[in-house]
C-alpha cells in the first residue's frame, strides 16, 4: 500500500465548516443552550426525523461509494505498478523461443549468450531459467523462480539488492527474494523456503520497483535447472539491456535475422499494452460501479420525496410564514446533500478499508491510497445527492401554500 500525503488546505477547511455547522445545532438541545438556527442545520435536523429511512439512504450511497473507491484504489495501484515496471524495463529486450506464450515455456540455446555479449549495441546479457512453482506447505499460490547469473543486476538495476548479501550464481540452496513477496510471506533474511523438497535459504532481498518484486525469487542457475528439468545447454530466455533504448530495434533485427527460431520481445511494450487494457478495464469498472451509486441516488430521491409528501402541511406553514419557494427547495436539496456527505464519507472510509483488506488477502494486489480517487468518489456522491434532491425540491417549492397546508 502506498500512502500519499494530503496537502493542507481545502479538506480541512470543509471539515471545520462541517463541525461548526454541527455545533450550531446538529447535536444541541435539551442542554439549555440556545444556538442560532440557520437553513443548513434546520435541513440536517430534518433528516433526524426518520432515522431508519435516512440511514438506509445513507447506506445506499455509501455502498456505491465504497465500491467505486475500493476499485479505483486497486486500479490505481495496478496502474502504478505497471507504470513503474515500464520505467524499470525501459530499454530491455527478451530473447525467447519463437511463439512462446509464456517465459517458462521458452527454450533458448545457452551458446547464444556469448554471441550476444559481443554485439556493440548490447550493454549486458542475462541468461535466465524461469520456473513457476508452488511453495511447500501451500502458503500461497505460485511464485516465480528465476535461475540466473550475477549479470542479472546489470540488466535490471545495479542497486537492486536492498538487504542481505549480493546474488552469487554459484551458491546453491540460496535465494534472493522480492521485497513485496517477502512482506506477503513474512520472510526475513536467514529464513528457509522449501520448494519441491529443495530448501532455499533467504540471503538477500531485492527491490526493482517492477512487478517482479511481488512474485519472484532469484536462485542459482543449477537450482532452477533442477526445478525446471531443463538440460544444461539451454535456458528459458536471455534478457538484454541495450546500450540505449533507441538501439532496441536494431538488436531485434539482428537476432531475428541471424538466429532462426528465436524472437525478441520488448517487455516495455507488453506492459504498455497492459496499461491500455487497465485503462479500458477502469472504464468498464467505473460504469458498473456507477450503477451501484446511481441506485444509491435513487434511494436518496425516494427518501426526499417521501419526506416532502409527509411534511406537505409543514411546508405550507413555512410558506405561510414567509419562506419563498426557493428557500423551501434549497432546504430540501441541503437535506439530500447531507445524506450525500455522510454517505460519501462512510463509503470512502469503507472503500479504503475494503481495498486494504483485499490487498492483504490477494497476493500481488497493489493498492495505492491517493487523494484523487478518494475525492472523485466523495464528490461524485455529493453531486449525485444534489441531482437526487432536485426533483423533490422542485415539487416542494411548487406546491401552492394553501394546498400544502391542506396536505394536498
Amino acid at each position: 500500500m502506498t500512502w500519499v500525503r494530503i496537502p493542507p488546505g481545502a479538506p480541512s477547511i470543509i471539515l471545520i465548516k462541517l463541525i461548526k455547522g454541527a455545533s450550531l445545532g446538529l447535536f444541541n438541545n435539551d442542554a439549555g443552550v440556545i444556538l442560532s438556527l440557520n437553513i443548513f442545520n434546520f435541513s440536517i435536523r430534518n433528516l433526524r426525523r426518520r432515522k431508519g429511512r435516512t440511514s438506509l439512504a445513507i447506506m445506499g450511497i455509501a455502498v456505491g461509494v465504497m465500491l467505486i473507491t475500493s476499485l479505483l484504489l486497486i486500479m490505481d495501484g495496478l496502474e502504478s505498478s505497471i507504470s513503474q515496471s515500464v520505467d524499470v524495463l525501459s530499454g530491455n529486450l527478451i530473447v525467447q523461443k519463437e511463439g512462446s506464450v509464456d517465459l517458462t515455456a521458452s527454450i533458448v540455446n545457452v551458446s547464444l549468450v556469448e554471441t550476444l555479449r559481443n554485439n556493440p549495441d548490447i550493454q549486458s546479457v542475462s541468461p535466465e531459467i524461469h520456473v513457476a512453482k508452488r511453495l511447500d506447505g501451500g502458503a500461497m499460490g505460485f511464485v516465480v523462480l528465476i535461475g540466473t547469473t550475477e549479470s542479472y543486476g546489470e540488466v535490471v538495476s545495479p542497486s537492486y539488492i536492498k538487504f542481505g548479501t549480493a546474488f552469487n550464481e554459484n551458491e546453491t540452496g540460496k535465494a534472493i527474494i522480492g521485497i513485496k513477496l517477502a512482506e506477503q510471506l513474512d520472510i526475513d533474511l536467514g529464513d528457509i523456503l522449501s520448494i519441491e523438497s529443495i530448501e532455499l535459504e533467504i540471503t538477500g532481498i531485492f527491490e526493482t520497483n517492477a512487478f517482479i518484486d511481488g512474485t519472484t525469487l532469484l536462485v542459482a542457475m543449477s537450482d532452477a535447472r533442477t526445478l525446471s528439468g531443463l538440460p544444461k545447454d539451454v535456458v528459458s530466455i536471455i534478457e538484454i539491456r541495450a546500450t540505449s533504448p533507441d538501439r532496441a530495434n536494431s538488436i531485434k533485427e539482428y537476432v531475428e535475422s541471424n538466429f532462426v527460431g528465436y524472437e525478441v520481445i520488448f517487455p516495455q511494450e507488453l506492459l504498455e499494452e497492459g496499461e491500455e487494457i487497465m485503462a479500458t478495464l477502469r472504464g468498464v469498472i467505473l460504469i458498473i460501479s456507477s450503477i451501484a451509486i446511481i441506485i444509491g441516488g435513487i434511494g436518496i430521491a425516494n427518501t426526499m420525496l417521501m419526506s416532502v409528501l409527509e411534511r406537505t402541511p409543514e411546508i405550507g406553514v413555512l410558506k405561510a410564514t414567509g419562506w419563498s419557494n426557493s428557500n423551501v427547495g434549497y432546504s430540501i436539496v441541503l437535506e439530500a446533500i447531507g445524506i450525500g456527505i455522510v454517505g460519501g464519507l462512510i463509503g470512502t472510509i469503507l472503500g479504503i478499508s475494503a481495498s486494504l483488506v483485499a490487498e492483504d488477502l490477494i497476493p500481488n494486489l497493489p493498492v495505492e491510497v491517493t487523494i484523487l480517487p478518494l475525492s472523485q468518489s466523495f464528490f461524485l456522491a455529493i453531486g449525485l445527492s444534489i441531482l437526487s434532491g432536485i426533483y423533490p425540491a422542485i415539487r416542494a417549492a411548487r406546491i401552492p401554500p394553501i394546498a400544502a397546508i391542506k396536505g394536498e
Binding site: 437553513i39 430534518n46 406553514v317 410564514t321 414567509g322 401554500p401
Partner: protein, 225 residues
C-alpha cells in the same frame, strides 16, 4: 385607517363540471388594530376568506389590499415577502417542527433572514406568553395550550401588522382556549396588532370588536360588539 380592503372577492372551485363558489362577491374593510371574528357554518367561506386576506390563496376575481398593497395581483415572489413582513398565521393544528425546540420553532419564519435580533425578540415573546422556562422543550414535550402559545410567538416574530387565526382553539380544552383568547386580546391591546379570527364559538366572537357572519360565501351579518 383601514389596513385591509376586500373588494368583490370571489373564489370558485371546479369539481369536474360543477363549480362551487366558496366566496361570492365579498366586500369589507378592516380597521387597523381591531379584533374581528368571522363566524358561520362549515363551508360558509370563513377560512377561504382568511387565506385570501393573508395572501395564501388567490381569488377567482376581485381583490384584497393590505396596507395599500394589492395581494391579488402580486406575484408569488412578492407575496412571500408580504407574508413574512405583514402577516402572522396561527392554525388549529399548530404545525410546529417536531425536531426543533420551542425557541427554535419561534425562529422558523426568520431562518431565511436569520439574525441575532430575532433571537432576542424570541426570548421576549417567550416571556410574554409565560413560556420562558419551556423554551428548550420540543413540541412533543409541550401541552396543546403551550404548543399554541409557541405558534402565536412564531406568528409574532416578524412583528406583523395583522394576525390571522384559523380555529386556533379548536384543539384545546375550554379553559386553555380561554387563556389563548385572553393572550390574543392582550396582544391586540398592547401591541396594536390587527387580529382576524375564524371561529365556530359564539363566545369568542362576542369578545371581539366586530363579528362578521358568512353563509354560502357571502357576508350575511356584520356587527360591532
Amino acid at each position: 385607517m383601514d389596513i385591509i380592503k376586500v373588494k368583490d372577492l370571489t373564489k370558485e372551485y371546479r369539481f369536474g363540471e360543477t363549480t362551487v363558489k366558496a366566496l361570492n362577491g365579498v366586500n369589507m374593510n378592516v380597521v387597523q388594530k381591531s379584533l374581528l371574528s368571522f363566524v358561520g357554518p362549515s363551508g360558509s367561506g370563513k377560512t377561504t376568506l382568511l387565506n385570501m386576506i393573508g395572501g395564501l390563496d388567490r381569488p377567482s376575481s376581485g381583490q384584497v389590499e393590505m396596507d395599500g398593497i394589492n395581494l391579488s395581483s402580486s406575484p408569488e415572489n412578492e407575496l412571500h415577502k408580504i407574508r413574512r413582513s405583514k402577516v402572522g398565521f396561527i392554525f388549529q393544528h399548530f404545525y410546529l417542527i417536531p425536531t426543533l425546540t420551542a425557541f427554535e420553532n419561534i425562529l422558523v419564519p426568520t431562518i431565511p433572514v436569520s439574525g441575532q435580533a430575532f433571537e432576542e425578540r424570541a426570548k421576549i415573546l417567550l416571556s410574554y406568553v409565560s413560556m420562558e422556562k419551556r423554551q428548550n422543550h420540543r413540541p412533543s414535550q409541550l401541552s396543546g395550550g403551550e404548543q399554541q402559545r409557541v405558534a402565536i410567538c412564531r406568528a409574532l416574530i416578524n412583528e406583523p401588522e395583522v394576525l390571522l387565526c384559523d380555529e386556533i382553539t379548536g384543539e384545546l380544552d375550554t379553559e386553555t382556549g380561554e387563556q389563548i383568547l385572553r393572550l390574543l386580546k392582550k396582544i391586540n391591546q398592547e401591541k396594536g396588532t390587527t387580529i382576524l379570527l375564524v371561529t365556530h364559538d359564539e363566545k369568542i366572537a362576542a369578545n371581539s370588536d366586530r363579528t362578521v357572519t358568512l353563509s354560502d360565501g357571502r357576508i350575511v351579518s356584520d356587527k360591532t360588539n
